[in-house]
Symmetry: C2
Subunit: 680 residues, 2 copies
């Protein structure tokens, strides 16, 4: 459950009064009374404060938590897979073989990774709404972005250790400033074998029962030393108890639970079919490339995992919208809100419908030329970011594109300059794929396509750009970033020149989008938020925004077409499910340790907590505040959770601390880590 590919649709308000266990609540609005009514108990402020202080966000798109006083971080294996791959070479494959740091000195820095802990949340709604009052069209989005940039810049003057982020909640109903303590030196401590973490592979992903040790440990460093983290979760290596209350604390990436029906139709008819077919084709290319070539297979593994994961997410979302009962519930929600609101807030549904017509007209241009330009090519991503960062930094902070303001530049710089491997064959495949799909969807006759390709084929152009560019070298990127626009203009790097040449066209379609879609939708959503507050009061939670949330629920299975699915699996099941063939091969560690293991130890389990992609790695916390697992997946029904939560079906899938403890002791032994986790 990686954070979903961020689409630029603004977040929107949640649909109706929350159902049992529904909700991704902000820490400043935890529904204690509501929980107490269902569970006879709810956490107090001290409990919430402790948990919040231990909650970690990973900038790669995951969640995590501190679990020792020395900066030790629990997260999922799939959240460190990119790091393990980046640190690997032909001779040493940490992704496949796992990694146990023999001592602290051998903990290895993850490129591009940053850990962040929320230290303050403050309401800046009046300042933003004052800035956009009475505005429309592009003036609105510009004023909003400028206000946000200003607030963020003023909020975090110490850029080395803090990060400020204004979060838009309730589709513009609230703006909040989140302040983070950040740690930009994050090191890999312990990782199991890929085959143990991802047993069952794509076929089992989003299915349950599962048998996955999808857990790993990182450590936050500062000035070369482990960070002191006195406020952390207590490690509790026990199995789950049926019906016990559980909390998931993490950063759900994005939900779209109050898209209007028009916006849902857009998802269903335009974006979801586009995404699923594009991901399917590139998935096919990656699989075939690795079929007779073990090295390429390894090099593409993490990209392929991400693509298969996203594909399934979008596929599940599409099937949810195609489900009549599910769709009817969403339609009923809209009808209810419309009936309650009357004309008091204008007709925001009609405003959005109008903007959607415009969106349909520019959707493909916006998608291929701006929003997803370069697609899976990391080198293109570098080039685009370098060119834009140079151009934007010449403007005042308030006038820059989102992503390039002063508060955002430090992370961008880190991501641009950290060393990560690039694979030329994969870059060529990715770049030529983007170019060929752009031509396919916009047609060979479109002027923008002619401008991109000239007389080249997608394949020939991709080859020329990848063979010619020096951007795989972090030193080159560092120099270009530092050199600003002068360095960019002077560069003869073909990829830089390619991006420069086409940037005006990309910005033009971005501007069209801002004016015709983002601005009217933002204005309409603010009205919808007002209608919603008026109708249902504050008993609601905002859509997910990859910021810290807490969800409460309980350990519980569900009924799958009349058949009960038990709430947990045991280690014994792993050996029963194995076939000896990928992806059902028992990891070497588990094969070797079998005779020493207690096979009745709980492995994975499910809870009713309401989560979504981005929650991967979230601690699953018991009533006493101890951690009993890490969320790593949802069941297949949870994918519809993007649009709505169904308490009878949606389930969070968790790797149990009991299974991790067993692995730390007997499968991938790490005695120092066992001691550190046990320390009180």
């Amino acid at each position: 459950m990686k954070k979903l590919t961020a689409l630029s649709l603004a977040t929107v308000l949640t649909a109706g009064p929350a159902l049992a266990d529904e909700g991704m609540w902000t820490f400043d609005a935890f529904p204690a009374a509501r929980m107490k009514a269902s569970y006879g108990w709810a956490p107090d402020q001290a409990w919430l404060d402790t948990v919040r202080a231990a909650a970690v966000r990973l900038t790669g798109g995951c969640s995590a938590s501190f679990v020792s006083t020395e900066g030790l971080i629990l997260t999922n294996h799939h959240c460190i897979a990119q790091c393990a791959a980046d640190l690997s070479s032909k001779d040493k494959d940490y992704l496949a073989d796992g990694f146990v740091a023999a001592d602290r000195a051998r903990e290895m820095k993850c490129p591009g990774q940053q850990a962040e802990v929320v230290t303050a949340i403050s309401d800046v709604t009046p300042r933003v709404t004052a800035a956009i009052k009475g505005l429309g069209g592009e003036a609105l989005t510009k004023a909003r972005d400028a206000a946000i940039a200003g607030i963020e810049a003023a909020g975090c003057t110490d850029k080395a250790t803090t990060r400020c982020q204004v979060v838009t909640l309730f589709g513009g109903g609230q703006y909040k400033l989140y302040t983070y303590r950040k740690y930009s030196d994050v090191r890999l401590v312990w990782a199991p074998e890929f085959a143990a973490a991802f047993f069952g592979g794509d076929p089992d992903n989003f299915n349950f029962p599962r048998y996955n040790l999808d857990a790993s440990f990182l450590r936050a460093y500062e000035n070369g030393k482990p960070v002191a983290t006195p406020r952390h979760l207590t490690w509790n290596p026990r199995g789950p108890v049926a019906g016990e209350a559980t909390f998931v604390v993490g950063n759900p990436g994005r939900t779209q639970r109050l898209l209007t029906l028009d916006q849902q139709e857009f998802q269903r008819e335009v974006l979801l079919p586009l995404q699923t077919t594009l991901l399917s084709e590139f998935r096919g290319r990656l699989i075939a490339a690795g079929m007779d070539d073990a090295e390429r297979k390894r090099e593409a593994a993490d990209t392929l995992f991400g693509i298969e994961n996203s594909y399934k997410v979008y596929w599940g979302q599409a099937r949810a919208l195609d489900d009549n009962a599910f769709a009817k519930r969403l339609a009923d929600n809209e009808a209810l809100l419309k009936a309650k609101a009357g004309r008091k807030f204008g007709d925001p549904w009609a405003d959005i419908a109008k903007a959607d017509v415009d969106y349909r007209n520019i959707a493909l241009d916006y998608y291929f030329l701006e929003q997803r330009a370069g697609m899976f090519s990391g080198l293109y991503g570098y080039a685009r970011a370098l060119v834009r960062a140079a151009a934007e930094r010449e403007k005042p902070n308030a006038a820059r594109l989102p992503g390039y303001t002063d508060s955002q530049l430090p992370l961008l710089e880190k991501q641009l300059t950290d060393a990560t491997p690039t694979y030329p064959w994969l870059e060529k495949m990715a770049l030529s794929f983007w170019l060929s799909k752009t031509r396919e969807y916009l047609t060979a006759d479109a002027p923008q396509v002619k401008a991109l390709l000239g007389r080249d084929s997608p394949e020939a152009l991709a080859k020329r750009l990848v063979d010619g560019t020096k951007l795989a070298d972090p030193k080159v990127r560092e120099r270009l970033f530092a050199g600003g626009m002068a360095a960019i203009r002077a560069s003869d790097d073909p990829l830089i020149r390619f991006v420069l040449k086409n940037d005006a066209a990309a910005r033009a379609v971005r501007q069209q989008y801002a004016q015709k879609v983002d601005a009217p939708v933002t204005a309409a959503q603010a009205k919808l938020a007002q209608a919603r507050f008026a109708a249902f009061g504050a008993a609601n939670y905002p859509d997910a925004t990859f910021t810290l949330r807490i969800s409460y629920g309980k350990v519980m299975g569900w009924n799958e077409r009349g058949r009960p699915v038990p709430f947990e699996t045991t280690v014994a099941g792993l050996y029963e499910r194995a076939t000896g063939q990928e992806p059902f091969v028992i990891a070497k560690g588990y094969a070797a340790a079998k005779s020493q293991l207690d096979l009745s130890v709980p492995f994975d389990f499910v809870t009713t907590n309401d989560i979504i992609g981005g929650n991967s790695g979230s601690p699953v916390i018991a009533k006493d505040g101890s951690v009993i697992g890490a969320a790593f997946d949802g069941n297949i029904h949870s994918l519809g959770g993007n649009f709505g939560y169904d308490p009878s079906l949606n389930r969070t899938v968790v790797v149990s601390t009991a299974a991790v403890q067993q692995a730390l002791e007997k499968v991938y032994p790490a005695p120092a880590l066992v001691r550190e986790l046990a320390a009180r």
Copy 2:
């Protein structure tokens, strides 16, 4: 525009009274009065008879026509591409380089190809409806299939030269016996280079303007000699005239113009997303396999073409159903018919809706285990056909599965025993794809998936089956076919054994489909047909069934988002559009001949004729009965033609005889052919 992959949805009645130029008419019901009213002229019976006698159906899924007295057949290049590939080797690539037979002795037999000409059409409706009267469920489909098998067996006693086929029209409103003269020795005479036939490749496919010499010549042989074809079309190598009347005579494969709204929803929500994602992923695999391997690229080219073509067809269909205006027209049609019919014919819409619920429950099982079992694997197709043919031939003719009755066995035997190359790597890729997708969609926990895979992975099983089978050898297939069930049971061929082992499960889901879907839908559609006849009379045409139809229309461009698209292109445009990079490379022949060519010669043109996949190769005929082109494509709007015809947008794309004549004279010179075509 290959014939679409045949889905088992029965054909249904057309929607409302036909619009201007709409209609794929049967030859026994040409709407002469209607055409005369629009065009001031219509063909008489003699005209129709001559044209019908010259019309050829190719069993590979295409249409064609006789254009000389000596069995010469005009069709599309993409209709002979498989043949050209099959006849090629590492040393000689007829697909890429083209082929000109220096003399008749060097014309080369196309494996698996058969040409068929309709000689009689008779109405057998009373016999079939009498056989199914009062029946329902599986009894209905069995009785219907038995009646059809009996009629076909009685109709064609000379199996060497005739073929009988009962065609279900108007969803069961009519059953007609088509008798064909068949020619099972069809040879390749002339083919241009692939780069000339398919210039613009997939990006230009279903787009216009186009610059494609998508034409080829075959010749029908019998007893080693060219067949005498005194009734043929006159070759007329002139360009089209704006507004002139044109007829397209050929075999549209399948339309679904009166699916009920429930059935359209099923297409839109279940089948089309499934097809587009599956085709996308396999497309990606094929592209990647050929990326750094020219030999594999060549070997997979025709499969890839078919997949990209089908993908675009399904994509276009999905987008048509997602188009609000288009969907509204279809909904209005249903409402109109419902209003006219009242309850006089029961409620066939509700009957279909009920069957659709059942269909949704078994759709994935049916698709993966039966309907599309083996998917793109030719070897699996052989094994399945051999096993089923053996089992079915032990039953009386009337009790066999469709496809294995006496009237159908000769073509099956030819297709099983003709020599065609197989590529083990491609077979493994295809078979493992099918197995892995079956596991993905049915889940690893499904008993049928466990039965298919055992403890193997899709890749390992595919490797074992393909490496072990001898079915690539036509002699082996011939022996197994001849040996019947005894030979099949005695065979230790792993692919035969694999199919045998899983056939009962596949037949079980087939039976479920027959009982729960096919039977009630057939019964309901017969009622819909009655309702339709009652409401709109006979002024209608049946949905396409890959049988002979005639469509009238005219040479005319269209407006694409306000911009007029001219009705024709010229040879000059080819040179302007070329970039020097695939797929926009000028074919060697055209590059060399440029200075000798009149660049103003018309190349491709569009007409309003109503066609669909299967019409590829159809002669485009002028008022005087002469042939002025071969239909090879539709514009992008024509893909919605599966569900409905839009006269303002749907266009047939045609390669002009003028361009073919120029090529025969100067690009790929064939002087004997020029003389043969000119002979009167």
